[in-house]
């Protein structure tokens, strides 16, 4: 009969015998008979699927049966079979954590449903956050704090004082700095174990595909329709998940677009929810319509939560569901969103295969461009210093007669026809009653003729009169 060598850890099951003799013509037969004679061995010789487990090596003579015929290897009467624990292992994971990182993320890691696995996925992931404003602030803070390994930020804006009531990423010392740079600095101070990449540019049809390609998950924190359609289309065309949030005054929305479930089913996207943009001007953005500062804090945090769930596969992401939150009534509701056959990106008859001009599609600008301005004090100083500039009044003739600052009259309605009268090689200051019409004039002139030397007189004639009056009172 074949002899079987038993290793020390298993001898407790064989009555301390180091060698036993067992009948059988193949390894499989011998092992089966062995575990019949010594039932305690069964769990060591066979894994749940009936195979020889990885932690056991079996030798016939000098040869590992994996190099012979595995379980079917024939044995002879005089064969010596050895069971030897296979001792192997190693640190094969490609994501590693330092001791400090493990300490940092300890409270994540100890959640049973989360654990080191989810933390590893976070560290490995690359998330692109588009817009570092009201939503982007809490979103970026929490993604960075949670340990998302690579975060990209796209924004072209600079930090302004009127941002600080909701954009908690920034402080007074950041005023005037590009948002992406101020954000990068702040996030690096929170978490030195992650990489932050600042893309100080507008997200446009020209750069969208290239930017999105670098990342696994995209989070849309933008504030206007053209960019939302753009982010959506870029994500669908690149097969990336788009974690979406938006806010307006007292209401917020969150959902996850273009998410592929574990079963391989792709969820709806922005175009399934809104097949066409609203008429231009119907829905104002935060700059125009206002927003309660804490609302983006709440909604951006929910967005961060969904990003983390998408990355880690923990829980059920808000795919196919639109969550809405009303801050005034504290009501939240979740609506079902379904994919539509008419979706031009991935419906029955797709017609969109590349990015388009989204400002044209939505009939509105993605960005409120802020032109150059001149304050009344600076204007008077420049005048006193004899600086050479052209002054234009875009109000109506009767307003011009009533009170003017000596500007050339070209009413707003006629300005495009009289563009030839406007100088191109020196400073041109344009004014109206409050600064609104002159701003519109500047935008039109810049868009159509490419002027770069136009300055809006801040606050218009009203500001000028106020200033004059205050000077009078001082005297």
């Amino acid at each position: 009969m074949p002899k079987i060598y038993i290793p020390t850890p298993l001898r407790k099951f064989t009555g301390n015998l180091s060698q036993v003799e067992i009948q059988g013509a193949t390894i499989a037969e011998v092992l089966n008979n062995l575990s019949t004679d010594f039932p305690g061995l069964k769990n060591y010789l066979f894994s749940a699927d009936g195979k020889i487990p990885s932690f056991i090596n079996i030798f016939v003579g000098e040869d590992d049966i994996r190099n012979l015929n595995s379980e079917k290897t024939l044995v002879e009467k005089e064969s010596v079979i050895s069971i030897v624990p296979a001792i192997a292992g190693g640190s094969v994971d490609d994501v590693s954590f330092s001791k400090n990182e493990l300490a940092r993320y300890h409270r994540h890691i100890i959640i049973p449903e989360f654990g080191l696995e989810a933390q590893k996925k976070l560290k490995k992931s690359k998330v692109l956050v588009i817009g570092s404003g009201g939503l982007g602030s809490p979103l970026l803070l929490y993604l960075a704090a949670a340990g998302v390994g690579h975060i990209g930020i796209v924004d072209f804006d600079i930090v302004e004082d009127s941002n600080l009531h909701r954009q908690v990423l920034f402080g007074v010392s950041d005023l005037g700095k590009p948002k992406v740079e101020a954000a990068k600095e702040r996030l690096e101070s929170i978490n030195p174990y992650i990489q932050i990449k600042a893309h100080n540019t507008q997200f446009t049809s020209q750069n969208a595909m290239e930017l999105v390609a670098e990342y696994d998950v995209i989070a849309d924190g933008t504030d206007n329709f053209p960019t939302r359609y753009l982010v959506n289309d870029a994500c669908v065309l690149s097969g990336k998940t788009n974690v979406y949030a938006s806010i307006f005054q007292f209401e917020g929305q969150v959902t996850v677009f273009n998410y592929v479930s574990k079963a391989g089913e792709r969820g709806p996207n922005y175009r399934d929810l809104y097949d066409a943009p609203p008429p231009a001007g119907l829905i104002p953005n935060c700059a125009e319509g206002g927003v309660l500062g804490v609302l983006p804090g709440i909604i951006g945090s929910l967005q961060a939560l969904e990003v983390i769930k998408v990355i880690t596969d923990v829980g059920e992401p808000l795919s196919g569901k639109l969550y809405t939150f009303d801050a005034l009534s504290f009501q939240s509701r979740t609506f079902a969103i379904k994919r539509r056959d008419t979706n031009p990106l991935n419906g029955k008859n797709p017609s969109l295969f590349e990015l388009i001009d989204y400002e044209q599609f939505c009939g509105m600008k993605a960005v409120d461009r802020k032109g150059k301005e001149i304050k009344v004090e600076d204007f008077l100083l420049a005048k006193a210093n004899g600086e050479d500039f052209q002054l234009i009044d875009v109000r109506e003739p009767e307003e011009h007669l009533e009170k003017n600052m000596g500007g050339e009259l070209i009413p707003l309605g006629t300005i495009m026809d009289h563009a030839i009268k406007i100088e191109t090689d020196k400073k041109v200051v344009i004014y109206c009653r409050s600064g609104k019409r002159s701003s519109s004039a500047i935008q039109q002139l810049e868009d159509k003729f490419g002027f770069t030397n136009l300055y809006n007189f801040k606050g218009g004639i009203l500001e000028f009169v106020d200033f004059e009056n205050s000077k009078l009172t001082e005297k």
Partner: protein, 138 residues
């Protein structure tokens, strides 16, 4: 629970720090009422055919030699130590796959070959690693 003399643990750390790749070896000792007591360790050549900065294997021959040695000395094989380089001292999937029931697996984490942490693990009947307390003795 596993009990290791403090000095022995320090010698072991010095040994693994002297290597340039993952190192491995056996822990030899005796049983006592609350667990196992390590008396000595036996460094073994890393026979992995893969990337030795990440993987280790103890050959069957080295295992059999070690077993013969402990038999002669009246000791037992308590378990195996190995290092994780720039990785935490937590079992990898490969560690779990190859974990032999009852053996104590001590993992030393080295960061840039400086000692970072040590933890001890044992596989349970569900094939999941459970952490074992390490007690240092004089």
């Amino acid at each position: 629970m596993i009990r290791i003399p403090f000095k022995l643990n320090q010698d072991l750390i010095a040994e693994i720090r002297s290597k340039t790749e993952e190192s491995c070896g056996f822990l030899l000792g005796k049983s006592f009422e609350n667990g196992q007591k390590v008396d000595s360790f036996m460094p073994i050549k890393n026979s992995s055919e893969g990337d030795k900065s990440k993987l280790f294997t103890i050959s069957a021959q080295d295992y059999l030699n070690a077993e013969q040695y402990v038999d002669q000395q009246g000791l037992i094989l308590i378990g195996v130590y190995h290092t994780h380089i720039n990785q935490p001292a937590m079992p990898s999937e490969l560690d779990i796959e190859f974990a032999f029931p009852d053996f104590y697996y001590i993992i030393y984490s080295l960061v840039n070959f400086a000692f970072s942490e040590v933890r001890c693990w044992r596989i349970d009947s569900q094939r999941e690693f459970r952490e074992e307390k390490i007690e240092y003795s004089l």
